[in-house]
Amino acid sequence: MNEMHLWADLPPQLLQDWPGELTNGKLWEADLERHRLEEDQQISSWLRLGLRVGEGQQVFLIGSLNTQAPSTMASRGGGRGRGRGQLTFNMEAVGIGKGDALPPPTLQPSPLFPPLEFRPVPLPSGEEGEYVLALKQELRGAMRQLPYFIRPAVPKRDVERYSDKYQMSGPLDNAIDWNPDWRRLPRELKIRVRKLQKERTTILLPKRPPKTTEDKEETIQKLETLEKKEEEVTSEEDEEKEEEEEKEEEEEEEYDEEEHEEETDYIMSYFDNGEDFGGDSDDNMDEAIY
């Protein structure tokens, strides 16, 4: 049946106006649509009556079922009505009967919080539920304290302050707080920091960033050897033992702090400029993890 090709070529179009609402009798496309529906109904009723359409025969109904007719009418209308009113699915099969009131067209996106028809299921309570809840909160808090939690560097202040010199910059930016097993990681991930210290072999470990005060350290050391207390001397001696990296790092840290402390007469908390009080919103939240 060659007229079938015509139907196959027409692209399925979204029907925009349901016939029930549109037909004000003025638009001829609406008339066409109504026509077609009537024809469909007639065919189905005929089929039910047992009327058979043999092959090659064409049944011409009143009002013309002829497939040529709609397309010519459409082309007269400039192709506007072509394909319009044709549904991609059989209305009856899907369950929309004739003359049924269809839902109104949606003119806006669905509401953000639509009212719930059914209440949600209650939360797990009881011992297990409580324990798992407490566990979750504790885990979140614990994870923030671990060295794996990398905080972005505190942005530099606009004007340099005197107290900046004496503030420990905390978790140093270009080093890691923990020691991974470097044998297991690609070599390129090791962060090396150049050291200005003497006699430091090139150990591929994260090191403290170079401090410009280090040169001063050494000179002050030499000058003020007598004034320094014993622990300073031990730290100096220890620094010269380069094999013990961990010891080095820790004592170096303390050494630096004490070194700083030696440069001034005040304890470190003197230089606390009150920035941390109430400003560390992140840190405060650690204590109350809900």
Binding site: D40, V121, L123, K136, L139, M143, F149, I150, D181, N284
Partner: protein, 513 residues
């Protein structure tokens, strides 16, 4: 990965590791395998930050690396592994139920740190346990080691792949990244360590309070100078085993709900016997004979052999087909059909979701379509005995949410719509995937909501914290009732109520996750 999953991964990484790691991690998830410089360039972060982030991610098994030709190392993120972070509390709780507090802490340490050596784990766990014990008692390393060995024997922890010990025969430069290997048999082999010691309690007098230069503490006693005996042997938590355990739990509870306690015990025994022997994605367990099952039943259950046989026959005849009979030797060979069981569990979940979301009549239609596989509109109305209009409405609601789909069967070769059958059907696999995706989306929403709520009420939370701290310190120093009352009143009643609401909401959102 879908957008919703990526969003959830980004929220999880941000909560647990901070912004920098989150940026790098999400970039890797989105773009796949990349070398170091490209990551730094694309995300606009400094090279050092990228290196730090990658170290953290690799440590936690979230990113793997591979050496490609010309020495380029590429890093790839594993989105599914990031999503497993949601289940950490559940893993820890499972370890607690199976191996009590010691096991719980071991698994917690392993999960929080990614990988650790056994000695490090044992030491840390012993210290933690010692702190919670009463004064004077300490936790022995041996006990913790024993629990660790038991965890390894039941495959809950496994060894990480390690660097193969190559002889230094190749004169060329060392490879840019080590290739890690692991042998199947070695995965659960516990090294012979003699860890002797007790947990140390962290005493406050040990900590230096002021910044005055003091005599340095005798640092690093002898044990640090010794080489760690199990250097290089790292352990990680075996997530697949936990998932297997959850699956078993699900099956056992399903059987208990459907039949009775005894049959669930029988199924639990069967699953336990095939824990180690069956790979985790097998369709069914190894066949077990009824005699073996009888011997392995837990000691408390003294049911006779005939009763056991009856139960087994009942289980095998059940239409749900959790248990199947595969032979008659040894008193009857029985298997557990794992895939079928999981399929039924998924279907049951879908049904319950439809019921909770749309109502019981919709659930009836859903179960009907499930059972009959394909139904036309008219048939649905007839079988479900629901009037046409309502049935239509319900079907379309479910169709719009993708629980039900339409199957077209054309009568003519050109698929003309008027001459095509449209059948409603349920595609279980795709519906289950859709549900999972929806869950991820809702978790992401919940996390956002919780963050929003905490941010809104930050001031109030801080105030309540301070008040609590004050009360605690005053109680410690022995204050009077009146003073405590006064301090408690610092938080006014409406504030208290606000706090309560906030706590409840946040707890709710955490709980639902």
């Amino acid at each position: 990965m879908t957008q919703a999953e990526i969003k959830l991964c980004s929220l999880l990484l941000q909560e647990h590791f901070g912004e920098i790691v989150e940026k790098i991690g999400v970039h890797l998830i989105r773009t796949g395998s990349q070398p170091l410089r490209v990551i730094a360039h694309d995300t606009g972060t400094s090279l050092d930050q990228v290196k730090k982030a990658l170290c953290v991610l690799i440590q936690h098994n979230l990113v793997i690396y591979q050496v490609h030709k010309r020495g380029v190392v590429e890093y790839e993120a594993q989105c599914s592994r990031v999503l497993r972070m949601l289940r950490y509390p559940r893993y820890i709780y499972t370890a607690k139920t199976l191996y009590s507090d010691t096991g719980e802490l071991i698994v917690e340490e392993l999960l929080l740190n990614g990988k650790m050596t056994m000695s490090a784990v044992v030491k840390k766990v012993a210290d933690r346990l010692t702190e919670t014990m009463e004064d004077g008692k300490t936790m022995d390393y041996a006990e913790v080691s024993n629990t660790f060995v038991r965890l390894a024997d039941t495959h809950f922890v496994q060894r990480c792949p390690f660097v193969p010990a190559t002889e230094n025969s190749d004169p060329g430069p060392p490879p840019p990244a080590p290739t890690l290997v692991i042998n199947e048999k070695d995965m659960y082999l516990v090294p012979k360590l003699s860890l002797i010691g007790k947990g140390k309690r962290r005493r406050s007098s040990d900590e230096d309070a002021t910044g005055e230069p003091k005599a340095k503490r005798p640092k690093h006693t002898a044990d640090n100078k010794e080489p760690i005996p199990d250097d290089g042997i790292y352990w990680q938590a075996n997530l697949d085993r936990f998932h297997q355990h959850f699956r078993d739990q699900g099956i056992v509870s399903a059987v208990a709900n459907r039949m009775d306690q005894t049959s669930s015990e029988i199924v639990r025994t069967m699953l336990r016997m095939s824990e180690i022997t069956t790979p985790s994605n097998a369709p069914f367990t190894q066949p077990l004979s009824s005699n073996e099952i009888f011997r392995s039943l837990p000691v408390g259950y003294n049911i006779s052999k005939q009763v056991l046989d009856q139960y087994l026959t009942l289980l095998a005849d059940d239409p749900l087909e959790f248990v199947g009979k595969s032979g008659d030797s040894g008193g009857g060979m029985y298997v557990i059909n794992l895939h079928k069981a999981l399929g039924s569990l998924a279907t049951a979940t879908l049904e319950s979701v439809v019921q909770e979301r749309f109502g019981s009549r919709c659930a009836r239609i859903f179960r009907l379509v499930l059972q009959k596989k394909h139904l036309e509109q008219k048939q649905v109305e007839d079988f479900a005995m629901i009037p046409a209009k309502e049935a239509k409405d319900m079907l379309y609601k479910m169709l719009s949410e993708n629980f039900i789909s339409l199957q077209e069967i054309p009568k003519t070769p050109d698929h003309a719509p008027s001459r095509t059958f449209y059948l409603y059907t349920v595609n279980i696999l795709s519906a289950a995937r859709m549900l999972l995706h929806r869950c991820y989306k809702s978790i992401a929403n919940l996390i956002e909501r919780r963050q929003f709520e905490t941010k809104e009420n930050k001031r109030l939370l801080e105030k309540s914290q301070r008040v609590e701290a004050i009360i605690a310190s005053m109680q410690a120093t022995g204050a009077e009732e009146a003073q405590l009352q006064e301090i408690e009143e610092m938080i006014t009643a409406p504030e208290r109520q606000q706090l309560e609401t906030l706590k409840r909401n946040v707890n709710k959102s955490i709980n639902r996750m």
